[in-house]
Amino acid sequence: MNQNLSPHTQELLEQYRKLLPVYEKMADVIPEKLKEFFDEAGIIVAAVEHRVKAEKSLAGKLQLKGDKYKDIFDITDLVGLRVITFYIDDVDKVASIVERLFEIDWENSIDKRKIHEIDSFGYLSLHYICRVPESSYNDPEHPEINKIRFEVQMRTVLQHAWANMNHDTGYKSGVEIPLIYKRNMSRLAGMLELVDDEFSRIRQEISDYRRNVQKLVASGNLSEVQLDGDSFNSYMKIRPFDSLTRRIASINQAEIQEVDLSQFLGLFKAMGFKTLGDIANLIKEYSDAAYQIACFQMGITDLDIISSSVAPQNLCTAFILKKGWGSGGLKSMLDALNGPSESNAFMAEYLLEQTKDLPFMNK
């Protein structure tokens, strides 16, 4: 025992040692509980960090202001959690989950985002002092869990980076740094604040764009929707090839194996399609031809299983043939769908030969 410490400090440290297993349990359980709620709310965070204050660090703190604490339960940062988000607006979402999950000691919680003057920049973070209510977690072996307060810090990745670097350059050495460096750190804080806002704004715009695409797809205004990854995925949700797929399956009463059709996006773009309307037109104009190809190929077999990619594949085949792109076009299609291969040239020739006398080729 350190003889330089006051009896009160030594008493507090003794209480700390007794409760250490409880602190460690809390540091294990609380982050897991938080992560569960983040998952439920669909919030992706960069990290949830946790730590239990080391005895040495606590002793240092108590030496400076031990008299402030009546007992160990008055110290609120023995268990500390830090939730680091990617986006600035997720800090508030995380905060609302923390508020829902724990009892907040509002008197001791600080929103450091609001304490800056209008013309100053610096450390931004939200600190809550919390307690686990029995309704959220109840452990008869450790009833103290519901009594111990702990700290949750919430900040973005950029705020976290700035805070760490500021700490490293400003305080670690214990030497006061010249004002010019402090000013430079503040400039960086201001810039990172702008970057955080910009990331959030971009995310919001992307969400708006996706919602708009979904609305246009649902309303059938497909020619207004530019063909890209997002719009293609939205379009696939309304299963535009289903009718043709079922028609093809009916040739041999085949089972349909659902597969991912995302590889067709690149092919449609290579075929010069610009909007979802182009795909809708393909289905409208070439479904009969695609069905004729399937009938010719499968009608003489007893194959009773097909993948859901047959319909778009046959549509593209019919389109390429009608455009007169020949075996070169078919090979490019097979390369796009199955990966480049010399044998695709053979299959392209084979397809060309198979389809040349089909009714749609002579229309």
Partner: protein, 100 residues
């Protein structure tokens, strides 16, 4: 129908010899079921000596593909004849597997 299995580290090469029709598919189903254990690595289905494949055979291939997707491995189909390749193409199975 013969199935020849050779394991080389993380890679399992499965030689398929003969006609993979419905009776043959039933016959080799237990061996294919055992193979699912190996799908955390790469399973190469060597079709050099495969003369024919029916829907039942395709279903066996699909079963392996599903197991590989669950275990993080992959199924490679190699040395397929033009006839079998055309079966894969007309059923839309060609892009479900890595074809070598």
């Amino acid at each position: 129908m013969e199935v020849i299995i050779n394991k080389k580290g993380q890679e399992t090469v499965v030689g398929l010899v003969g006609r993979l029709d419905t009776p043959a598919s039933i016959e080799i189903a237990p061996q294919i079921e055992d193979l699912k254990e190996a799908t955390s690595g790469t399973v190469i289905l060597d079709c050099k000596d495969l003369e024919y494949i029916s829907s039942s055979g395709l279903r066996l291939f699909l079963g392996l593909r599903k197991a590989a997707a669950e275990k993080g491995g992959k199924i490679v189909v190699s040395n397929i004849s033009p006839e079998i390749r055309s079966v894969f193409m007309m059923t839309g199975f060609l892009n479900l597997f890595e074809i070598r």
